[in-house]
Symmetry: C2
Subunit: 141 residues, 2 copies
DNA sequence: CAGAGATAGTTGGAGCTGTCAAATGATTGG
DNA sequence: CCAATCATTTGACAGCTCCAACTATCTCTG
């Protein structure tokens, strides 16, 4: 039973991944752009290094990605006072706008979800909370 | 409440996507390979055309992908009796083995899931069934 | 304090995956 | 025979990724 529910969840996950790709395309964003926008907090610039680390990618890859974002006016580089080696990356006003629009569309719940009862929602919510707190580890054996 | 549950679900979905990518890499498979393996039924060869259609990609893209799969010995092309223009794509024994291994690891439920009660599982299952039947459409306006 | 070494980021070069468009070959069916 | 259909080849390009070399800056040590 757990297995069956899990497969369903993966199926939903895959569907949603496809949908997300469509939304990104609508907004003229590549997967890389999306990943970056979601990772950047409007109120809290990050450094190139911390971004590269959280993306588990090479530093030069991050340079490349931020270049692309900067070309589109979504982010801008800044300096960090106290250490002139490090550069910060912050969302521009347009970046903030784009991120909002992206999230708004991404997080819009599906129609079917609105027809669910309170009890069902709570049960699902609880289970998902448990699952979300786990980092992709699997069970048995 | 529906919105919150939905965000959680997306989060879980994203985590799982990352996990799936890791599994694929372990097995030396690219995302394209995975997509193809999951789409191919051991007992039912498909034609190039039908595959391209279900992947929503160009026919030449499918040729390219099947070339890669064939190089790895995961699939083989065959002819269709009655129409020598069309070619079928079928999993090789190694393809079947690889697909099994992939699915086994992909569908292994997370630890946390095994600690859930029967009632919770049923509630989640029901909701997921509803969500899985919907094709990525969203609700309100 | 000077110089050595560490650190942050960039540049340049390369490679792989995935994608399409256009031209081509093979086969079919009217 | 002619037009339509299925698949492949070829050529191009975007997205992402790494590695190695380089620049600027900081920090530690003698």
């Amino acid at each position: 039973m757990a297995e069956e529910a899990w497969r369903l969840l993966l199926k939903v996950a895959m569907n949603q991944f496809g949908r997300a790709a469509g939304i990104a395309q609508d907004l003229g964003l590549t997967p890389g752009h999306v990943k970056a926008l979601l990772a950047l907090d409007p109120d809290q610039p990050q450094t190139m290094g911390s971004l590269a680390q959280s993306f588990s990618c090479d530093a030069s890859t991050m340079t490349w990605l931020v270049d692309r974002l900067e070309e589109r006016g979504l982010v801008e580089r800044g300096g960090l006072k106290g250490d002139r080696r490090v550069k910060t990356v912050a969302l521009t006003p347009e970046g903030v706008r784009t991120k909002s629009e992206l999230e708004e569309r991404l997080y819009e719940p599906p129609r079917m979800m609105l027809g669910l009862g309170q009890g069902e929602l709570e049960a699902v919510h609880k289970v998902l909370q448990v699952l979300a707190s786990e980092n992709g580890q699997t069970g048995v054996k």
